[in-house]
């Protein structure tokens, strides 16, 4: 019975465990010494303090959000957060539709705005264009006087004068005439929300030409959108300043003063002419000439849905006849102009092609952005949690204290129940704790795993689950002792039976952890992860530590002879002598079970 094979295996397992612990310790030390690792686990925001914002896409009538577009949205939000100078922020997708932004500090309003701002694509008519850097002498007083003169204001503005061509009265007339047709055709550009815009231009540039008699701008390309306020904002805008656009007011029905993405050009744009949710597809590629041969010009091909196609046809028909820069249609994403190409011809079929000296890679990126902007992915804050570091620290401290108390209670109880054997439980829990600590800390360094409050609770709960494996095992060993086996044999037989129970029970637990981790939301994930991790560590400890240790202890006289306090005293366990039943089977004393179940057939 007491062959050497189990003991050799036991020693090997213990050595393997030691190697594992040393290796994990080595990785941890290495990460601290040579990397950016730390000796304690990385903490989640709810423990460390910080903000977590969960963004949910605003989806119309239950439309599904594709994983691709969500990933793109994530990338864009990462860019936005980074550009706001927040360090250590994490942006992750959660489930199939949400985006979680975790910031290790409490962010300013500007950062918040930047994160949850709409990322819809828009097409707006260019009203005026200028160099991105303002001319220092550009006095605001020039603007009112310009508008009072009745001519288009950009022409009077010194800063825009270089590029913006003056709008002659002839074109102004033509402009508004077409605009009337456009207004009749498309209901979308309503200037209703722009109280300030309609009130101020008392000296509208086209009062005589507009047949409507109203002073309000009558179409997306109407220069009347340029009110003194707009002009003033435009003059003051410095696109070289990265913070210049933080305060920009982006309202669909109002004109927009903004910069190009690279900051080199600034624009006054009309209200939204076609909104990006009407784009059905955008692809980048080489343009083909009418003969079908591929040219070297890179183009972005857009496809609109029927409503978008109609609006796009209208605006292109209007704009083809306008002088530069008013024949440019700006593509706006996140309030910045991506590209503002000119119309060379009207595009009636909703298949627009944008060219303009793109590289293929650049065009692809823009096409992606266009496509992305075309998806109904504007985000709404689903929840936002600011945790003060004080509160988080307090939670952690009490959680830690509670864990220690719980552990102590478990220690007392196992000593009470299992006497010296209880120390095997305790040392196993200590080993499991050590492994868990190392694993979590290393994962924090390598995989940026953060321990949050739910995770801490998971760890505390795991004490109970881990201890259960030992209880199942010990009870089996005791059962075997009761049947009259020697300790060494009881440990082996008991182990062979307990092993299966421990495996299937931990299997159920692990399955639960995996399903929770994969399917539930982020707050559940921390818990599921620690549950899964501790289940694995539990298996490891039972197989590589507890069982080997017990195997080796069977040689120790204290346990072998069944000392009163060993927890394995056969006399106390009521072991039956001489119960060998032949063929290697020990007959348990047969129970008087019949009495418990009626003998009804």
């Amino acid at each position: 019975m007491a062959s050497t094979a189990p003991r050799t295996a036991a020693r090997r397992a213990l050595i393997a465990l030691t190697v594992l612990v040393v290796a994990l310790g080595g990785v941890l030390t290495g990460s601290v010494v040579w990397g950016d690792g730390q000796t304690t686990p990385k903490l989640g925001l709810d423990l460390e303090g910080g903000t977590q914002i969960i963004l949910e896409p605003r989806v119309t009538n239950g439309q599904a959000v594709s994983a691709e577009s969500l990933a793109q949205a994530r990338d864009i939000i990462v860019q936005r957060v980074d550009s706001n100078g927040v360090s250590g922020a994490e942006v992750t997708t959660q489930g199939e539709s949400n985006i979680v932004v975790s910031i290790p500090e409490i962010p300013t309003q500007a950062v918040r705005n930047a994160i949850s701002q709409s990322s819809q694509m828009q097409f707006r008519a260019v009203l005026a264009i200028g160099s991105g850097i303002p001319v220092p002498t550009g006095s605001p007083s020039a603007a009112p006087s310009a508008s009072a003169s009745g001519s288009a204001s950009p022409s009077a503005s010194p800063s825009a004068g270089s590029t913006a061509s003056p709008a002659p009265s002839a074109s102004s007339t033509q402009n508004s005439a077409v605009n009337e047709a456009l207004t009749a055709a498309s209901p979308s550009p309503s200037p209703s929300g722009s109280a300030s815009a309609s009130a101020s231009p008392s000296a509208s540039p086209s009062p005589s030409a507009s047949g409507s008699g109203s002073a309000a701008p009558s179409g997306p390309t109407d220069l009347a959108w340029i009110t003194p306020e707009v002009q003033q904002a435009y003059d003051a805008l410095n696109c070289a300043d990265p913070k210049a656009l933080e305060t920009v007011r982006d309202v669909a029905a109002e004109p927009l003063v903004t910069c190009s993405e690279d900051g080199s050009t600034k624009y006054i744009l009309g209200p939204v002419a076609v909104s990006g949710d009407k784009i059905t597809d955008a692809t980048a590629g080489y343009q083909s000439n009418p003969q079908g041969a591929v040219t070297s010009t890179v183009e972005i091909a857009l496809t609109f849905n029927s409503e978008g196609a109609r609006q796009y046809a209208d605006i292109s028909r209007t704009m083809v006849g306008l002088p530069s820069p008013q024949n440019q249609l700006a593509t706006v994403l996140d309030s910045r102009v991506i590209v503002a190409p000119q119309f060379n011809e009207a595009i009636p079929n909703g298949r627009a092609s944008i060219t303009g000296g793109f590289t293929l890679a650049g065009a692809k990126e823009i096409a992606d952005q266009l496509k992305f902007g075309a998806l109904p992915l504007s985000f709404e804050e689903q929840s936002s949690v600011d945790i003060s570091p004080t509160l988080g620290g307090e939670q952690l401290r009490y959680g830690f204290v509670a864990g220690l108390i719980g552990l102590l209670l478990v220690v007392v109880y196992s000593l009470f129940q299992y006497r010296m054997l209880g120390f095997v439980t305790i040392s196993s829990i200590v080993v499991a704790g050590l492994l868990t600590y190392l694993a979590i800390t290393v994962l924090g360094w390598a995989q940026n795993f953060r321990l949050d409050m739910a995770g801490v609770t998971g760890l505390i709960v795991a004490i109970g689950f881990t201890a259960d494996s030992f209880i199942v095992y010990f009870e089996r060993v005791r059962d075997e002792l009761r049947e009259g086996r020697s300790l060494a044999s009881a440990v082996e037989t008991g182990w062979n039976r307990a092993k299966r129970t421990v495996l299937i029970a931990d299997g159920v637990n692990f399955l639960a952890a995996i399903v929770l981790y994969l399917l539930a939301s982020s707050s559940v994930r921390g818990f599921a992860f620690t549950l899964g991790l501790t289940t694995l560590i539990d298996l490891l400890v039972v197989f590589w530590f507890t069982h080997p240790l017990l195997t080796l202890l069977t040689r120790v006289p204290f346990f072998r002879d069944g000392h009163r306090f060993s927890g394995l005293d056969p006399r106390k366990l009521g072991a039956k002598k001489r119960s060998y039943a032949g063929r290697g089977r020990f007959t348990p004393v047969e129970p008087s079970a019949p009495a418990t179940e009626g003998s009804r057939a």
Partner: protein, 387 residues
Amino acid sequence: MSTSFSDFGNDLYTGKRSIPVVAKRRSFYLGSLVLIVVAVLGLTVQGLNLGLEFRGGSEFRIATGSTPSDYEQTARQAVGAAEDASGVNVTLVGTNTVRVQTEKLTDTDSQQVRGELAQAFGVPEENVSATFIGPSWGASVSGQALRALLIFLVAVVIMLSIYFRNWKMAAASLVALVHDLVITVGIYSLSGFEISPATMIGFLTVLGYSLYDTVVVFDKVRENTNEAFANGRMTFAQAANLAVNQTMVRSINTTVIGLLPIAAVLAVGSVFLGPGVLVDLSLVLFVGILVGAYSSIFIATPVLVSLRRNEEKVVDLEKRALRHQTKKAKDAGEAVPTSGDAAAPAASVAAGQVDRVEGATLTGRTVHEYARSGPRNQPRRTPKSKR
């Protein structure tokens, strides 16, 4: 106590003492049925107390060194300065944290209120945490949790059916699981404990635990019943009942050890921290583990026996076992078990266990002196099945 507890364990193992779990299963079914009805009634009448996460709103927590006695007034004034004071809920959480719940505030308002609160309580602004939760948050979390639960159940049924090679064991575990779920939810509805997303996580864990516990008991049931099928000495019900008794000590120890750390967290958390992830989770785990331990002993195995009762194999085993037991009893010149015997333990069920004098077993070759010198044995009767 320890000695008697280990004696208790020994007796349960050998079958000297037996808790008639399977025989009395109708009582346990009835008890659970009553609990379930109460739970469902509570749920329909009272509903669940859903937390802020499900209703939507804003919450502020102020960590103060020492809470002023007029904290409620102070908080109301501070919030009232920025927001209409109606619908503002101020509570003291733990010993030194004030929780202020308001209706949904905009970001700007929220920042402002945060500043006002910090000022009113004379703490730095980073001691105030602000939470805004849209009403869809809780719903989406629960939706995901529910989906995870369904997939988990399907996966577990497949896994257990393969492991036990018997779908009825998987089915019985599921019955126990649903039982735990309904009763835990019922306890939540009747007690009015608040349900937060952390509670949802806890529910899911409880279900995992319930299955885990049932699996451990079933593993022993399978071992015993396989043995019974092989040697025909015990009926299926007897073997299953013995398994429950043999794992009883494990179940008690596991439950106690599982509950100890959770109880510690619950106590520390509710005294010092108040409602939060820590307390919500530990509360639901505490309730759930208790219910789960109960169901894996008193519901799962009896249900399994009920499910398999009419199987040909099981009926056949019962006949064989009774034949064997009758023969054994005759050999020993002892009482033959009859259906009338079931009445004797029934009387002591209230005490939770059935004491049997040593040696008075059917099989015991060593008969207790008391039995030997006692009153003459009952006249032999053929078992009911043979009559």
